[in-house]
Symmetry: C2
Subunit: 427 residues, 2 copies
Amino acid sequence: MSELVQLVARLGAQARAAARTLATTPAARIDAALRAMADELLAAETAILAANALDVAAARANGQTAALIDRLTLDPKRLAACAEGLRQVATLPHPVGEILREWTQPNGLKFAKVRVPLGVIGFIYESRPNVTCDAAGLCLKSGNAVILRGGSEALRSNTAIAAALSRGLAAAGLPAAAVQLVPVADRDTVRLLGESTGIIDLLIPRGGRGLIETVMKTARVPVIKHYDGICALYVDKAADLAMATAIALNGKVQRPGVCNALETLLVHQDVAATFLPKIAEALLRAGVQLRVDDAARAALGSLATTFSALVASATEADYRTEFLDLIIAVKVVADCAAAIEHIETHGSHHTETIVTADAGTAEHFLAGIDSAVVLWNASTRFNDGYQFGFGAEIGISTDKLHARGPMGLEELTSYKYIVRGTGQVRG
Amino acid sequence: MSELVQLVARLGAQARAAARTLATTPAARIDAALRAMADELLAAETAILAANALDVAAARANGQTAALIDRLTLDPKRLAACAEGLRQVATLPHPVGEILREWTQPNGLKFAKVRVPLGVIGFIYESRPNVTCDAAGLCLKSGNAVILRGGSEALRSNTAIAAALSRGLAAAGLPAAAVQLVPVADRDTVRLLGESTGIIDLLIPRGGRGLIETVMKTARVPVIKHYDGICALYVDKAADLAMATAIALNGKVQRPGVCNALETLLVHQDVAATFLPKIAEALLRAGVQLRVDDAARAALGSLATTFSALVASATEADYRTEFLDLIIAVKVVADCAAAIEHIETHGSHHTETIVTADAGTAEHFLAGIDSAVVLWNASTRFNDGYQFGFGAEIGISTDKLHARGPMGLEELTSYKYIVRGTGQVRG
């Protein structure tokens, strides 16, 4: 235990020193380092893939899910994509140094609000080795040192990757500790990172509920969570049925395991009997299980019998659940106000969408929903940094402070005020 | 204890309901409420001043400091200033609803990043009844519900003020619970507010070290601290001596008890022998105690003997102390880089200033110091919302996330993304 404390303290001290160097490193040298990191990643292909093969074999032996093993597995193509990702980040504009605002006060003091790095970022994430590269690239580009704590199943892969990245940093003359990996799988390191007050400026936990709840319970440093998405679609009485069906299908079926997938379907009572059977049939034929309230069951009519294996009665808990699976909770609501009320009291403020041809109703919904992303006539699956045109993201924040929704380079920065005077004192 | 838990839960539930109403309340109605609050404050003058007299008498009986009693005391003029403050906030532009960014993606989706309220703010502050009005006004103007937890010495005054403010809200047709006061002095309420996950969107503790450390240890909700200012002045070898002396005096003496007061004086070694005696004499004559390192003591020469009662040897701890008193820690440094190194490793990243005529040295300092506000040839006392031209502030953040430095209306908001489509789904 004491060894773990020393380990995290050492990583922290090295990261802080690196962060101080990065804060005044010219942009061109950071980009050179990103390219050198890409080079070293490709040069280390054999070692990285060998380490990854060991991780994958261990995961299989431990009976991990096919989904986890897929995310864990690297091959030459995926590794090349990681290197390409670093090269692309190198081409992006630098957020640090941007002057956000400039003004002069009557006493002659010249004020500038300038974008600066956050400092040291702690990033806790799932067992996806490619995320190690992506996160390192984004944090470095935004001038931050990062301490990476990936899922334990990927430890061997991540160790090989982090070593290559550090060689790239050193080759470019930057501190190798600008990117560090927690080199052990011990879960206590998550708690210790969260207790690193004065060392870690921002801790970003991304992953399962258990992990995020551990961080929330123990962290003393600022945290931006990438938590659950209990995303809802409200089909209004003025909806286009074909559009509503397409958006429901896309939200639920295209990639059910992600945070912007659809989990709740609300339908206006006036169109439940006509719309619900059509939308439900599309979902059922795609293998989606429906958890329905009584009104929805009534509206389904014979479908509930035909697909009886896929239709169950919803519990209150179902409307508060992120299924991440081919399951959707369905409810008939009185009107748009009732849909808003349901979403605000059951949802997770992540992503919600309304389908309606009525602009007034749409604007009521867009204003009344307090979620990171609220859409009108579009799929919830668009809550994503690339879809926003922001490029690479470190995740999707479910918090309201500092960063909400897709979190890219700008959200990895802070600001400071620079004030230039000629001897002014306060009267 | 269980009663306290219920109390804080009830305040939280009421605040959340109020926040949902405020999120869609038209700006004009919020301004009307601010004016009605000012009216009710003045109408309740007799009751408020009577309650305040009881608080002041109790504070005197308990042997509180003159400074605390001064901050605690209300009179008709101070109360009128509170009312006027609310009226002024009503005239300011509304931050909520501002479109921060708008763009369209190639697939036709129209994106807007829109400023929204944070929701429910918890504010913990010292025994200053006027802050009750100021904070209520700022939170309401930015569309937030607020739970106020003022210092226990001001409880009777705050209760009378909060009652008047709630009457004003009700008179304007807004939920009275948009502004609520924790009606008991029990310190456990601070912990309970910090544990109100999902209820409080932002907790702002302002006040002494003990209070803030309690919050940091126990809070589970997002916190922006208004913590200590260990502010430094670095007098470079290229400094104008008269300017350096004026800025040192202003920083230390004008108002020593505030967070932007000067606590550390660093002097370049090449000018220590010529500059330090002059600057030190001005400070000593103003009654300031100097805590000096050996080199500074040598530079002071006979002054150290003449003012022997006011000159002491500095300990390492002195350079990490917010004295909030007529005491300053003094150190001779090799150069600007050494000054930066000292500040970055001893300071609190609040406010630092350099006095120099050398623009290159100044820019080195401005870039190398990671503080909320960094000044060149100006007093640290300018780290203040009014001095920035921002107007009223809820405090000065010492955090790097979301808000840094003076924290006004904009910093009390978040944003959401509104996306308008025509049926787009993700491919």
